[in-house]
Amino acid sequence: MNKKSSLEKYLFTIPVIVYSLLLILLPILYVLLISFFKSDSYGGMIYTFTLSNYAEIFNITYIKIFLKSIGIALITTTICLFIAYPFAISLMSKKETTRNLLIKLVMVPFLTNSLIRTYGWIVLLRKNGIINSGLLGLGLIHDPLSLMYNNLGIIIGMVYTLLPFMILPVYSAVSKVDRNLIEASYDLGASKIKTFTKVYLPLTISGAFNGSLMVFIPAIGYFFITDILGGGKIMIIGNLIKNQFLTARNWPFGAAISIFLIIMTLLLVRVYKGLGGKMDDLGGGM
């Protein structure tokens, strides 16, 4: 009996192991490997060891792109946090059926491809788009607002696309907070803001960090949002990597930036662990 169950365990984990090895580890190792090669002029690779691809990253032009990407990602993460907390906390005072419905609505956008949803924003935000013609029609503005093809467009797109990744872990953390603690806080005369900073925040910080990671990291790489809503005027790390693999035909350099990005991500996870976060919580979900 015991033998059988261990065999079953084995059989059931094999797909996961194969999946992780074949589809996650192997490609990463390949990327790591080619990041040490040289590129030839035809977009191929010369198989000699070099560190020049990594040295190239520290060119001032690329450092600027890194800083810009981090800036955009930080703003996105902060806005998402500011939206997710009030949303999650106000959900707690709703009836359970309403709450479940609202959480499901947060997930509805996942049913459509994010690229298509991003194109949808063009119809809303462009010069003659729905928002501008609406505001002009109501006489609230006289000249159309520049809502896209600039930084604002990028931030709108990023926040919109990534918000669910913040709401879900924050909601999951908030819902675990003991209601009695909140009531006690109010009974003792704490204001709403004080209750938030002294009770909610310390108890849900792992959820907030979890959500922040899940928002921050994709925000560095979602090149289609900067391309579509930013009008391709701003390059983030994702665009830079994509360019190396396509137009510049410089796979090794692209690979080196990818590895650099992975290292940055691991460092962030390190910080999270350093702050006392649990790796299990990073699994996310509810």
Partner: protein, 333 residues
């Protein structure tokens, strides 16, 4: 255990059927630019010849190269690389020599388009469609424009869309300054950057996917874009004027080639032969109004075509120096 055995047999059977089903059927494997040939043309070819077309698409020459070099020989039979990519593929020994005698419709190709710099003897490639970059503007809202320099004006703030392509767009800046589109001299590139800085505030977006929609929705009044896109925008709004910039523009010729490892050479010839027919060419340019190389369907006179070819420049493979363009492009953004 019985269940597992059954499952294994089932999987094996599935794999086997995957291997054998296409054996007896005539096929041709085509990889082409996305939105370049109407579906109808492919269906008509299949109906007429009984040859099944396995049709795939790509959106850049580099993607095509990556797809070809990362797949087994013979995966693709006919592909459509542009000028510099033809040259590169010939050098990499990826193409086979064409036998013109097998193409009954070869005579339809206008001689003007043959013997281009990238394949001087047309041993490996035949021209299919010519794209050129052009300036298009809405004459209702902006003054006459003849060249890139006319775009640098204070009142055109946020009013221009450019192609999101480092070689074409930086190339246009180089041409505006009187340099060659393929110039990679560092000082000239630095000047190109300065030209960009003077134009920067006027650029609303870089877009290669559908720059025409910027003109069609009045998002911008000016665009530097491919001729076919400009023509489609003009069809939508007759106030749009299309000009070939005086200081030069990019030419991009897409070509028929047959891959070295092609296993369906006969069908590949049949497919090319079909695409060269007058009525088929007409159908293609009706939907995608690039310049047809078929002399019977062209909207241009030979003189005009010669002028278009002479004043434009092909993008050339600059080898390692692409990194200079790429670094400048990163700096611009």
């Amino acid at each position: 255990m019985k269940k597992y055995k059954l499952l294994i047999i089932f999987v094996c059977l599935l794999l086997l059927t995957g291997c054998t089903s296409n054996k007896n059927k005539q096929v041709v494997n085509v990889l082409n630019w996305s939105s370049y040939i109407p579906d109808e043309v492919i269906k008509d070819f299949e109906k007429e010849t009984g040859i099944k077309v396995n049709y795939g698409t790509y959106s850049s020459n580099e993607e095509l190269l990556a797809k070809l070099s990362s797949s087994k020989d013979g995966t693709y039979d006919v592909v459509f690389p542009s000028d510099y990519m033809v040259e590169l593929m010939i050098n990499k020994n990826m193409l086979q020599k064409l036998d013109i005698s097998r193409l009954s419709t070869y005579k339809n190709i206008d001689k003007v388009f043959l013997k281009q710099s990238y394949d001087k003897t047309n041993s490996y490639s035949l021209p299919f469609l010519l794209a050129t970059s052009v300036i298009a503007y809405n004459r209702e809202n902006v003054n006459d424009i003849y060249d890139y320099k006319d775009l640098v004006r204070e009142d055109y703030k946020n009013d221009i869309v450019l192609l999101d392509d480092e070689r074409i767009t930086i190339g246009a800046f180089l041409q505006a300054l009187g340099y060659d589109i393929n110039d990679y001299n560092d000082e000239h590139l630095e000047e190109a950057y300065e030209f960009y800085s003077s134009l920067k505030d006027n650029i609303k977006a870089f877009d290669s996917d559908s720059p025409k929609s910027f003109l069609m929705t009045n998002e911008t009044n000016i665009g530097v874009l491919w001729n076919a896109e400009a023509i489609l925008a003009k069809d939508h709004n007759p106030n749009i004027v299309i000009v070939y910039p005086r200081s030069g523009y990019a030419l991009s010729m897409d070509n028929y080639v047959i891959t070295k490892g092609s296993t369906n050479v006969d069908n590949a010839y049949k497919f090319i032969d079909y695409l060269l027919r007058d009525e088929v060419c007409q159908k293609i340019i009706d939907d995608y109004p690039y310049i047809s190389t078929n002399k019977n369907t062209s909207n241009y006179s030979d003189e005009e075509l010669k002028e278009i070819l002479n004043n434009g420049s092909y993008i050339k493979n600059v080898g390692e120096n692409i990194k200079r363009f790429d670094r400048l492009w990163a700096k611009m953004k």
